[in-house]
């Protein structure tokens, strides 16, 4: 790693001030950032510790919804009893992420801000488009892990699995800094066509402070599936989050989010439309799943993700219907 200064502020305001410095980056759990420093992908001159900032470490559940501090660890998201009752899908997604050690260290904010795991991006030796070069090496190279949608400019996928679940619940994200704001989490992700150099709409000197999810309607059924090839610690082949607003056996409205298949988390709008107003059964789920893969543009190495995605979407819809929460044992 390169050498850097270290600042440990106690308030968000102090953190913002400390971040307002050329070459400064925030460090939360360090799970992703330290990896990137060790691989010489980034070389900040200053790290600003945000892990212990006041007010960012709480989970608050009340009748309007849940407010999750950016410093809450994945382990706490997985274990919090109130959150498990109010929004089970979040804890479900969190409990399947990474490993026990990483879950104890990784924060919600860091998880949102983590950068792609594309092996060309992660290697100093490849000056890919995302790093200012002219080539996406995955296009003609080894694309097994890569995107099957929206992959023309850059084929890296956003690696967060928590995000898939949060998006299906209509989450919003709060950002502190010069341009303090609260926006829909869905708008927080940046497509390669908009800006190759970053994955989230967070400028230097800004800080994620909270994610809020509205209270789940009584008729909302949710399920989350992280599909892996290897059971112990594997990046997802695909992950899917489904939220169904049900009226008896009829689906009034569906929210289906697809992860690990595109540079940003993807709403399966065609699949959602296929379910709207429909009596849900196996055939309906399969029809919706088939709609979810329409328009997929797989690369030479990742065509297998398409049928896998289709299968997982169908299963997750049915799991939401059955109230079995999806995911894997």
């Amino acid at each position: 790693m390169n050498n850097f200064e270290w600042v440990q502020p106690e308030t968000v305001a102090d953190a913002i001030a400390a971040l307002d410095h050329a070459g400064a980056m925030p460090l939360a759990g360090g799970v992703d950032l330290l990896d990137r420093l060790k691989e010489h992908l980034e070389a900040p001159s200053r790290l600003v510790s945000v892990r212990k900032l006041a007010g960012l470490g709480e989970i608050a559940v009340d009748p309007t919804g849940a407010k999750l501090g950016a410093n809450v660890t994945l382990a706490r998201l997985a274990a919090d009893p109130a959150l498990r009752r109010s929004h089970p899908m979040i804890g479900d997604a969190a409990s399947h992420a990474a490993t026990p050690q990483l879950r104890a260290m990784a924060t919600l904010g860091g998880n949102l801000a983590q950068r792609p795991r594309c092996w060309y991006f992660r290697s100093e030796a490849f000056a890919c488009r995302k790093k200012g070069g002219t080539t996406c090496f995955a296009q003609d190279g080894d694309s097994e892990l890569h995107a099957i949608f929206g992959n023309q400019l850059c084929a890296a996928t956003h690696p967060s699995t928590i995000v898939t679940a949060l998006l299906a619940l209509g989450a919003r994200v709060s950002i502190a800094g010069k341009r303090a704001r609260e926006v829909e989490l869905a708008s927080f992700f940046v497509a390669p066509e908009t800006d190759l150099a970053r994955e989230i709409d967070l400028a230097p000197g800004e800080l994620i402070t909270h994610v809020t999810v509205p209270v789940m309607a009584a008729n909302l059924r949710t399920a989350y599936t992280k599909q892996v090839a290897k059971q112990s610690f594997d990046w997802p082949l695909v992950d899917v989050a489904v939220a169904l607003a049900m009226d008896g056996r009829t689906c009034r409205q569906a929210t289906i989010v697809l992860g690990a298949v595109a540079p940003t988390p993807r709403r399966a709008t065609e699949a959602e439309r296929a379910l709207a107003g429909v009596t849900l059964d196996v055939m309906a789920a399969e029809r919706a799943a088939h709609a979810a893969i329409a328009g997929a543009t797989p690369l030479a190495g990742n065509a297998h993700k398409v049928p896998i995605l289709e299968a997982v979407v169908a299963r997750t819809i049915l799991a939401a219907l059955a109230g079995t929460n999806g995911s894997q044992p």
Binding site: N2, Q8, G23, G141, K230, S232, F233
Partner: protein, 1009 residues
């Protein structure tokens, strides 16, 4: 802001040039100009601005294991580095340094955390607990105790992290179920395969029943000593006869079967268990010598290049750099005609990751910075990076002409002088009978093309060395499987007498075939030490580990079997290609040629050079690859002939076609097939692909075959001192196999002692040279030497006691704890008093391994494995639910250690079958997944239940009849899984790894038999 930087001289290249004095004396305008602090009307600055520390070293206080410790470190120093290097707490290990393997697991306020991914300065007031802090005085934590009792350690490198994860689990969940246990260690990789016993240890420690798998030993035989002039031959519990054997008078005599022994054959906890579970065991990465420097290599990012210029001046000028070395000698094979390649000053680069230069500096960070300052100009050339591509006549050539490759220390390799056309070298061949005619005349022909991938060894402890070059001797600490192999190579390379080269390795963290000889990096470290006149530590990082120090070569096999109507083999025809990168040795073993006899056999095996890292022997080189193909075709043949797959194997597994089975391994396998079939529930098998629903289960069988290799360079010393203490010394290594304990057991047996009473000193070339640990030949080699030394030492001891007691020595014998007269037990002495009778200070005997006794050849051994799998036909995901392994390995010395080896071999086999794949970028030849999360190593939640049944087999060839098991444990597994997959889904997967992509492709193509 207050600035806290004690060290003005530390280079801080990323900061604007601003001195402390200038800042403190600066005005508001000056502060704003540096951008350090922005005033905003909206900002609510706190009363005291936060302190800025670094970038130079600053003092921080850590609460470690209940004590306040202060270290002075730069902000970039990770907690694992602070613990290990600053505080000397080396129990916490570095496996990958990227948060993927769990070897560095510690607790922060009782929660599991990865010390490699935590900055020391970020720990703050959180309480740090390391492995060294678990015990209360000498009382170990219940988890540590359970790990020892349940034999949940092998090489021990992953153990501290594993224990820490288990302790954290129990603190939070005192009675975790099986799923919770597996989940708790899902982030702790173990390459040796301890997972099943880790699960058992946690279950037992929490007062529950273990569920990792069972161990059964079928028969230990009766207690009788074999009649004089004979040795027992047969499988204990079955037909065992006393066969005539001639044993010289001076040599140790045949033992009874294990039923008649006191120590050998009994499940015994490892002597080094405590050292491993407490973090006290010292590995090469833990060795710190005074004045030690840290080295770092400069490696080529290009797969094929000519090096035009290497400029080390900037590196040399960096403060703290003490030596720089530029590689001038070629790595890899030697050209038969060197004039065919013009390279200039520097050797040709032939793989990405090849070493160009190296530096040694006072800290690892300075070494890394210096390495990055070395300037190298490459003329990049086209590279052949795939097996198929390299085979094309138009492919870029790895070598411009024929090459020979002197053994890559540890095997692999191919014969010299073979034909070479382009990148294709070979064949190594055999030809018996007329294969073409026999195939043409065959009623049945089954044929298939099989592919297997490159697998990297990925031991949890990377390759590493501490080299200490002194004017009068070279001492190295090195992670190795063979201390003498390192000594010999360094002596040769540096033209030193062997007596001036000393190699030590007390504990090593896994090798699997990749850790023989000094390695190129070892030579580099020694050279840096020579130049710097200081010890130099060079530890490869995980990226280097994957690329440069060995792998299991890939294969592309075309195998055809011709058979008669009843399945009797008429012809076997094999053509195999594979790439070992720049090295040779990409074979598929001898399974096809030797397992089932046939009148006509033709095998042709070729090496294909690619611009990739050199292969090295990897746990049964070639055999798992060959068996993956052979065992699937045998199953196809069974289906074709309407025969049960086990029955067909019984029919084929004969000494000669259509004959009887008398060879010990064939006799054993027949029994093993029956035992295993019964245990797995073979009768439950459905028709291939018949199950309803998308998740289908299946059962399959695989066969294991390995050679009995005898290494006569097997010697040891036994010392019995006047106070009764006993020491055994040999240069032999314990690579996680339990050799240390096995040696103690063998010696203890012959001296009437318990293993704990033996002080075993191994891993040091000052001691008599023992066999390198490879080829599963360690116990075959060394245990007879131990018995021989015991025999001679005991003879001297009995002579001394005889004088004391006034009887003839021939009237005395050793029984547990005593020396006493045969037939008059009252006339004797307890051990300590017996030893007090020794005339000199001690009895010291050095003995070499006696030759094998004359008897029928028992050249092969192995076993049979059954796998039960579940295949999700919509996602292509395979899960192995259960494996039953029935194996023989001669006389069982320690069944617990044998079980661990079999667990490990099976888990290696599954990991290779389903997950691992070294991915090279086709265009550049760089390894894309040079880590431990995208290079997928099997973890806890992928571990099946493993039931092991052991046969105790006596062949009457040595005074112990012990065989190895490390490799036979690995040969059958992928074949068993593949056959089980076919049984589940009705299509064959003929390529490895059997990833979702491969399974879905096979289902789409409908690869029927």
């Amino acid at each position: 802001m207050a600035h806290d930087d004690d060290d003005h001289d530390v280079p801080a290249p990323n900061l604007p040039g601003l001195s402390r004095r200038a800042f403190l004396g600066g005005t508001a305008g000056g502060a704003a100009a540096t951008g350090l602090f922005t005033l905003s009307s909206k900002a609510r600055a706190s009363a005291t601005s936060p302190r800025v520390s670094g970038p130079g070293a600053v003092p921080i206080t850590l609460d470690v294991n209940g004590a306040k410790r202060t270290v002075k470190v730069e902000p970039r120093v990770t907690l694992v580095r602070a613990l290990r290097e600053e505080l000397g707490l080396t129990g916490t290990k570095v496996g990958c340094d990227r948060g993927a393997c769990g070897a560095c697991t510690v607790h922060l306020d009782g929660e599991p955390a990865l010390a490699c991914t935590t900055l020391a300065i970020d720990v703050g007031g959180r309480k740090v607990t390391t492995i060294e802090g678990l015990a209360r005085g000498t009382t170990l934590h219940p988890i540590q105790q359970a790990f020892i009792a349940e034999d949940a350690t092998q090489c021990g490198y992953c153990t501290p992290g594993m224990v820490m994860s288990c302790v954290a689990l129990l603190a939070e969940n005192p009675r975790p179920d099986g799923s919770a246990i597996r989940g708790a260690v899902a982030g702790n990789l173990c390459r040796c395969g301890t997972y099943p016993k880790v699960f058992n240890a946690v279950a037992i420690a929490s007062g529950q029943k273990p569920d990792g798998g069972t161990l059964e030993t079928r028969g230990t035989g009766n207690a009788a000593a074999p009649p004089p002039g004979t040795a027992w031959v047969g499988i204990a519990g079955g037909a065992v006869t006393a066969e005539p054997r001639t044993v010289p008078d001076s040599e140790a005599k045949p033992w009874p079967m294990n039923g008649g022994l006191a120590v050998v054959g009994k499940p015994t906890a490892r002597l080094d268990g405590r050292a491993k579970v407490t973090g006290a065991a010292r590995y090469t990465t833990d060795v710190a010598l005074p004045g030690m420097l840290h080295a770092r290599r400069v490696v080529s990012p290009h797969a094929h290049a000519v090096v035009k210029r290497v400029d080390t001046r900037k590196a040399e000028k960096l403060a703290g750099v003490r030596a720089v070395f530029v590689v001038k000698k070629q790595e890899g094979a030697t050209l038969v005609d060197p004039s065919t390649e013009q390279n200039g000053t520097f050797p040709r680069i032939r793989y990405a990751g090849q070493c160009v230069a190296a530096v040694a500096a006072t800290t690892p960070d300075i070494a890394e910075a210096a390495a990055r300052l070395v300037e190298v100009d490459y003329e990049v050339l086209p590279a052949a990076t795939t097996l198929d591509g390299a085979m094309q006549p138009s492919a870029p050539l790895v070598y411009p002409g024929p090459v020979n490759l002197g053994g890559s220390a540890g095997g692999g390799g191919a014969a010299s002088g073979l034909a070479q056309h382009g990148n294709v070298r070979g064949p190594t061949q055999q030809n018996e009978g007329n294969v073409e005619a026999a195939l043409a005349a065959s009623v049945h022909k089954v044929s298939g093309t099989f592919r297997t991938q490159v697998q990297t060894h990925s031991p949890m402890e990377p390759h590493g060395i501490v080299a200490d070059w002194k004017p009068d001797k070279l001492t190295v600490h090195v992670s190795t499987q063979g201390t003498a192999t390192v000594r010999d190579e360094l002596a040769t390379v540096f033209d030193l007498p062997r007596t001036k080269v000393f190699v030590q390795c007390e504990f090593m963290g896994g090798g699997f075939g990749a850790k023989f000889g000094a390695g190129h990096f070892g030579v580099v470290a020694a050279e840096l030490s020579r130049r710097a006149k200081a010890p130099v530590r060079l530890i490869l990082d995980r990226r280097e580990q994957h690329a440069a120090v060995g792998n299991r070569p890939s294969t592309l096999q075309q195998l055809t079997l011709g058979a008669a109507r009843d399945g009797q083999l008429a012809a076997i025809d094999l053509v195999a290609h594979g790439t070992s990168g720049i090295a040779t040795g990409a074979g598929v073993g001898w399974a096809a040629a030797k397992l089932y006899p046939a009148p006509a056999v033709r095998t042709r095996q070729f090496d294909v050079f690619t611009h990739a890292g050199p292969g090295a022997a990897f746990r049964a080189p070639g055999m798992p690859q060959g068996m993956f193909a052979l065992d699937q075709l045998i199953d196809e043949l069974a289906e074709r002939t309407g025969t049960d797959p086990l029955e067909l194997r019984d029919r084929l597994d004969r000494d000669a076609p259509g004959g009887t089975a008398t060879q010990p391994d064939r006799v054993a396998r027949k029994l093993e097939r029956r035992i295993g079939a019964d245990k797995i529930g073979w009768a439950r098998r459905g028709k291939p692909g018949a199950a309803k629903g998308p998740i289908k289960t299946g059962i399959g069988v695989g066969t294991s075959l390995w050679r009995r290799i005898v290494d006569m360079d097997s010697a040891c010393e036994v010392r019995i001192a006047r106070d009764g203490s006993v020491q055994l010394r040999s240069s032999v290594m314990d690579i996680g196999t339990g050799t240390r304990t096995a040696l103690a057991m063998v010696l203890a047996e012959d001296l009437g002692l318990s293993p704990e009473q033996i002080d075993v000193q191994i891993g040091d070339t000052r001691w008599p040279i023992g066999p390198a640990s490879g080829g599963s030949k360690t116990l075959v080699g060394i245990t007879p030497a131990v018995r021989q030394a015991a025999h001679e030492a005991r003879t001297k001891l009995l002579a001394a006691v005889a004088r004391k007691l006034g009887v003839a020595a021939s009237e005395l014998r050793v029984v547990p704890g005593r020396i006493e007269a045969i037939g008059d037990p009252g006339k004797g002495l307890p051990w300590k008093q017996a030893c007090a009778a020794i005339a000199t200070d001690e009895i010291a005997v050095i003995a070499s391994r006696p030759s094998d006794w004359q008897g029928p050849s028992a050249n092969g051994y192995g076993g049979v494995q059954f796998a039960e799998v579940e295949v999700d036909t919509q996602t292509g995901v395979i899960r192995v639910r259960k494996v039953v392994a029935v194996q023989e390995c001669g006389r069982l010395i320690n069944p617990l250690a044998v079980q661990s080896q079999i667990n490990g071999g099976i888990l290696h086999g599954i990991s290779w079958a389903l997950f691992e794949d070294r991915r090279l970028d086709e265009a550049t030849g760089r390894m894309l997944n040079a880590n431990l999360d995208q290079y997928k190593v099997l973890g806890a939640k992928d571990t099946p239940v493993i039931d092991v049944v052991l046969l105790d087999q006596y062949v009457g060839l040595t005074n112990t009849d012990a065989h190895g098991i490390g490799e036979p444990a690995n040969v059958a597994t992928a074949a068993a899984v593949a056959n089980a997959v076919y049984n589940a889904i009705g299509v064959r997967v003929r390529e490895l790894p059997m990833t979702p992509r491969a399974v879905l492709a096979a289902l789409r193509k409908g690869n029927r038999s």
